[in-house]
Every structure is written in C-alpha cells, then in structure tokens.
Symmetry: C2
Subunit: 394 residues, 2 copies
C-alpha cells in the first residue's frame, strides 16, 4: 500500500486551515446549540442530501445558490427549519447576511437539525453567531453543539502519509441517533480535508462511499428531511493521492456511521447483518436492510433471543430470491440453521445467546443463491427508544 | 339496497352446516391450542397466502394438493410449522391420514401459527384431534384455540337478507396481533358462508376485498410465513346475490382486520391514516402504509404527541409526489398544517392532543396533488410491544 493511515487525537480542529467551535445560543433548554466550521482558505464543497421529498430549508438554500465553494458553515440544533416554506429559506438569507456584515464570508452555508415545522429562532441564532471566535479550534464543542438526542459527540480523523513522506488529513464530525435509515445519510456529517482533492473526485468518491457507510445503517427506518453529508477540501496541504484519499474517506465515513448506530436511540448493541450468496448485490442489500428495520428482529436483539425464525421470515418477506433448503443463518460463528437442517438444540441456543450478549456482533445469512453480498448495520430496539420518542417534544 | 345486513350473536357456529371447536392438546403451556372447522356439506375453498418467500408447510401442503373443495380444517397454535422443509409437509400428511381413518374427510386442510423453525409436535396434535366432537359448535373456543399473543378472540358474522326474504350468513374468525403488515393478511382468517357462492366469485371477491381490509392494516411491518385467509362456501342456503355477498364479505374482513389492529401487540389506539389528494390511489396507499409503519409516528401516537412534523417527514420519505405548499394535515378535525401555513399554536396543539387521547381516531393527510385516496389502519407502539417481543420465546 503506497500510504499509511494514522488516527489523529482530535478531528476537524487538526486539519490545516480549518477552525470550529460550538456555543450556547439559547435554542435548547441548556447546553451548546450553535456551531461553525470556518476555513481560512476557501474550500470546494461536495454535498449529499436526503431523498425525502420535503427537503428542509437549508438544503434548498444550498441548492438554490448552487454552492461549490465556501469558507463557512453555520450549524444549529433543536430546530430543523423543515416544512417552513419560503420563510425558512428567507430566514437563512437574513442570518448569513447579518454574519457577512461582520466577516468576509464566501457563500456561507447553513445546516439545521431538530424539530420539524417550527420557525427558526433567527434573532437568537444571529446574536449567538456574532459572538463566534473564528480562530477557535474546538471540535468537541462543535460536535456537542450539533447534537439532538445524541448521547455522545461523534468525531474521527486520520492523517494520511504517502510513500514520499508528504501527508494530508481527513476528518469528520457527525450527529444522528434517531430518524436514521437508508436512502441517504439521515444525519448531518461534516467531513473536511486539507488534501488537494480535485472537485470531480470529491463528488464521485462521496457518492461511491456513502453506499457502504451512511447508507448501510439504520436505527429506525425513518428518513429525515435534513440529512446532509458535506465534504470540504481546502487543498492547503498541496498533497493528493486518489487511492489514499478514497481509503481514508471511506474509513472516516464508516466510523462515523457506526458511531451513529452505536448511539441509536436507546440502543445497546451494534449488529452487522452480513448477507452473502444473494442473486445480486442489490438483493443482498435489500435483505440486509430489511433485517436492520424489522421490529421483530430488533426486539429479539434487545431480548438477546437467538430467534432465527424471525431472521428467516424477514429475508423471505423482503422479496429476494431465496430457498429454505439453501439458507444458512449464524450468530457470530454459531450456525443455527443450515440449509434445511435445523441445528437449534438447547446447547446451540445457549451458544448463540452468548454471542448476543456482546455489545457488537455479526449475524450471517448465506442465501446460497449466488455471489451478491452486502453488510448493513443496525441496532436493537428497547424500552428507551419508546421513552425517547414518545416524549421528545414534551 | 336490495338486501339488509344484521349482525349475528356468534360467528362460524351460526352458519348452516358448519361446526367448530377448540381443545387443549398440550402445545401451549396452558389454554386451548387446537381447533377445527367442519362442514357437513363439502365446501368450495378459496385461499390467499402470504407473499413471504418462505411459505410455511401448511401453505405448501394446500397448494401441492391444489385443494378446491374440503370439509375439514385443522388449526394449531404455538408452532408455525415454518422453515421445517419437506418434513413439515410430511408431518401434515401423517396427521391428516390419521384423522381420515376416523372420519370421512375430503381434502383435509391444515393451518398453523406460532414459533418458526421447530418441528411440529405431531403426536400431540393427532392425539388431541382424535378427541374432537365434529358436532360441536363453539366458535369462541375455536377462536381462542388459534390465538398466540392475541389478548382476545376475534370473530364476527352477519346474516344477509335479500328483498325476497331469502337469506344466507357470512361469518369469520381471525387471529393475529404481531408480525402484521401489508402485502397480504399476515394473520390467519377463516371466513365461511352458507351462501351459494360461485367459485369464481369467491376467488375474485376475496382478492378484491383484501386490499382495503387485511392489506390495509399494519401492526409492525413484519410479514409472516403463515399468513392465510380461507373462504369456505358450502352453499347450504341455496341463496346468492353477488352484490349482497360482496358487501357482507367486505364487512366481515374489515371488522376482523380492525380487531387485529386493536389487539396489536401492546397497542392502545387504532388510528385510521386517511391519505387524500394523491396523484394516484397507488401513491395514496404507499403514503398511508408508510405512516402505519413509521416508528417515529407510532411512538408519537403512544405519547399522544401531535408531532405533525413526523407525519410530514414520513410522507416525504415514502417517495410519493408531494409539495409542502399543498399538504394539509389534521388530527380528527383539528388542522395542524395547512398548505404551507403552520397553524400549530399552543391552543391547536392542545386540541390535537385531545383527539389523540381517544382510543380510535383519524389522521387526515391531503396531499393536494390529485384524486388518489386510501385509508390504512395502524396502532401505537409502546413499551408492551417491546416486552412481548423481547420475551416471546423465553
């Protein structure tokens, strides 16, 4: 491999030219709720947005302006600025204009997460943002400021060193804990690099890598109005190698995605559903995603019950080509159903149960129909998910 | 209307020529677990089965024999006889042969519900079934014998009287509480009539009426391996009118479907999601079904939180054509979002919350895009669903 990857101790704050911080603007009842990312060298920006038909105002604002280059992203939590119509976009214009009177901002971008359908408290946001210190580098405070029901901040970063000793850094911060499903990230993620990444590569690699990372996770099958992944490259290192960057980008996205599942509302387990032997990769993906979204599978995970019948039934219901004489199901390395043969005696059940007691494990489903494979990541569904979501607003 | 419908006090037991009962065969730890339906005059039988690719053994047995006429259905709970391979079908053959040595049975049919992937306890079933009294008429015991996590028996029936004073009866019994979703019944239902229904009408009307009844309900989005709706007509009344029969059949199916949602595992509320103004009926159905299956919507129902943003986000995520400037959302008659205008002040929120305190209510979503409409029926998701499903086997 013509490069090495080493984890960095912080995240965005360690990428050359990038600054960030989080403050309290009074949107939440307590805690940080407003943050920024600033780059002293304007960065190319590539974006992926939700497939939800009701795209939130910040997503429409970004697309209205066809932004390709920026030096500033403003992020608030608590209010999603979604289903807020023309007013939602006008509020953003007003906010970025106010900030542009103080600083030299190039195409400022806004990003929001929180409750849908409430007008943005723009006065509080402007007043708070005007207190930003653009020379601050605190990605922990930034990561906390963008949290909603998240229980911990999510950040990661790698330094990429090429064979000739030159290096660049790729780092990201994300939020997300509920309303997490396929079909795009269903969360906010901000990934920045000082690598000199050509814009074409940024867009191409972002689309390619999202499939196996953010699009491979699900907490609850709900897809938000605000899902966004931004990738910023300010090129300050002057260094670039496509293979190394692609590898590092995937690692950053994969780790952020798993952090989101790990923080799935009320979740105690991260489970990799590995579907192999499907007719096609598309069918493997469909079955794997169905497994991450089945309530009966998720409650069995919570109960640590190796109820493989629910796994089989979910695969069968997903509509993929399958045959009970060819299906194999294993919890970790414990095979519970082997191509028509039920291997589920009490001793096997106990071994499978032991696997499920772990906080992270793998469930393998080999369909035995072809060569397609896909791994999706899900979590259990317990009492706390209900508690969090039945009481979110009140 | 050239006919009148009047509810009957029992169900299958009141239909001329039909007999039924439930007994305890020792499959469950306690309670009734084995039942039968017998008709003294062989009946035409039409069937609808799950679209799950792993069809359970009883479904394969029925289709292997291309059964069109029968006089006997045997139903067990506790064991689904699913994912049991060739042995599952052979077990059924052995059971019906044993019973045929005692009684004159025409193409006996078996139906099973319960845990997937365990061999059928056929000795207990045979021993239990041989104690049946085929002259018994106890549809309450039959309805109880086929229950799994159901908390109450589900039965309904109507006497249909034509203008000329002649009459026939349509009645049904169902079970189902979890693993309930679209794409076919996802439950067991047995509907019988003494009407002289032509076989073509039986099949045609069963397919037609399932769309707005059993296929319009969802408890948890999971689709079982055993879903079955049987319709039996023994023609004993000699009476038939297509319009009257179609009407009565739909009523029976609709009421059984609502009883299933009402008994949705842990559910406390039945909610009708009425989607209007979609581009097509198909789109209305897609949006309505998505609402019944959204965890965030279901937990908001449980919390009695009129969180209309989740309703909007789910419609947007369902992929149907929509526009936030045309969408209208109402809880009962309380409009909370009106075509771009947020009408959600504290007084409105309180009124919407009051609607949600009811055990049954309607949520209207008018997309304002066309003429398509569909109503789907769902329920809330609370702590008890988790409790039931995390502890089902253990």
């Amino acid at each position: 491999m013509p490069f090495t990857l080493s984890p960095i101790s912080h995240s965005i704050a360690e990428v050359d030219g990038f600054y960030c911080d989080g403050i309290r603007a009074g949107l939440k009842e307590d805690g940080l709720d407003l943050g920024f990312i600033y780059t002293d060298t304007p960065a190319h920006i590539a974006a992926l947005f939700t497939t939800n038909r009701f795209q939130a105002a910040p997503l429409r604002h970004f697309q209205n302006h066809s932004i390709k280059k920026t030096n500033f992203i403003l992020v608030n939590s608590k209010n999603a600025n979604a289903l807020t119509g023309a007013r939602g976009v006008a509020d953003i214009e007003e906010i970025v204009e106010a900030l542009s009177r103080k600083w030299d901002l190039l195409n400022p971008v806004m990003s929001s997460t929180g409750v849908i359908g409430l007008p943005l408290p723009k006065e509080k946001i402007i007043a708070g943002a005007l207190t930003f210190n653009l020379e601050e580098r605190d990605d922990d405070r930034f990561a906390r400021a963008i949290m909603t029901t998240d229980t911990f901040p999510k950040k990661v970063g790698f330094k990429v060193t090429l064979d000739d000793g030159s290096s660049f850094t790729v780092a990201g911060v994300a939020k997300g804990a509920g309303m997490i499903d396929p079909a795009m990230a269903t969360m906010l993620a901000f990934i920045v690099t000082d690598g000199a990444v050509p814009f074409g590569d940024m867009e191409e690699l972002l689309h390619e890598k999202v499939e196996t990372t953010f699009n491979a996770i699900s907490v609850d099958g709900d897809r938000s109005t605000n899902d966004t992944v931004f990738l910023l490259s300010n090129g300050k290192s002057g260094v670039y190698n496509r293979e190394a960057f692609a590898f590092a980008l995937e690692r950053v996205m994969h780790e952020l995605a798993l952090l989101i599942v790990k923080d799935g509302e009320g979740a105690q387990k991260v489970v990799a559903f590995e579907v192999r032997g499907a007719k096609s990769r598309e069918e493997a993906k469909r079955a794997a995603k169905a497994l991450t979204n089945s309530l009966l599978v998720k409650t069995a995970l919570f109960g640590e019950d190796p109820n493989w019948g629910r796994i089989a039934a979910t695969i069968g219901a997903s509509g993929v080509e399958c045959d009970e004489e060819r299906l194999l199901i294993a919890f970790g390395d414990v095979v519970v159903y082997n191509r028509g043969e039920i291997t589920f005696d009490p001793a096997t059940e106990e071994r499978a149960h032991k696997v499920m007691e772990r906080s992270e494990f793998r469930i393998l489903c080999d369909l035995g129909m072809g060569e397609g494979s896909f791994t999706a990541y899900g979590c259990d569904l317990g009492y706390d998910y209900i508690k969090i979501n039945a009481e979110y607003r009140t």
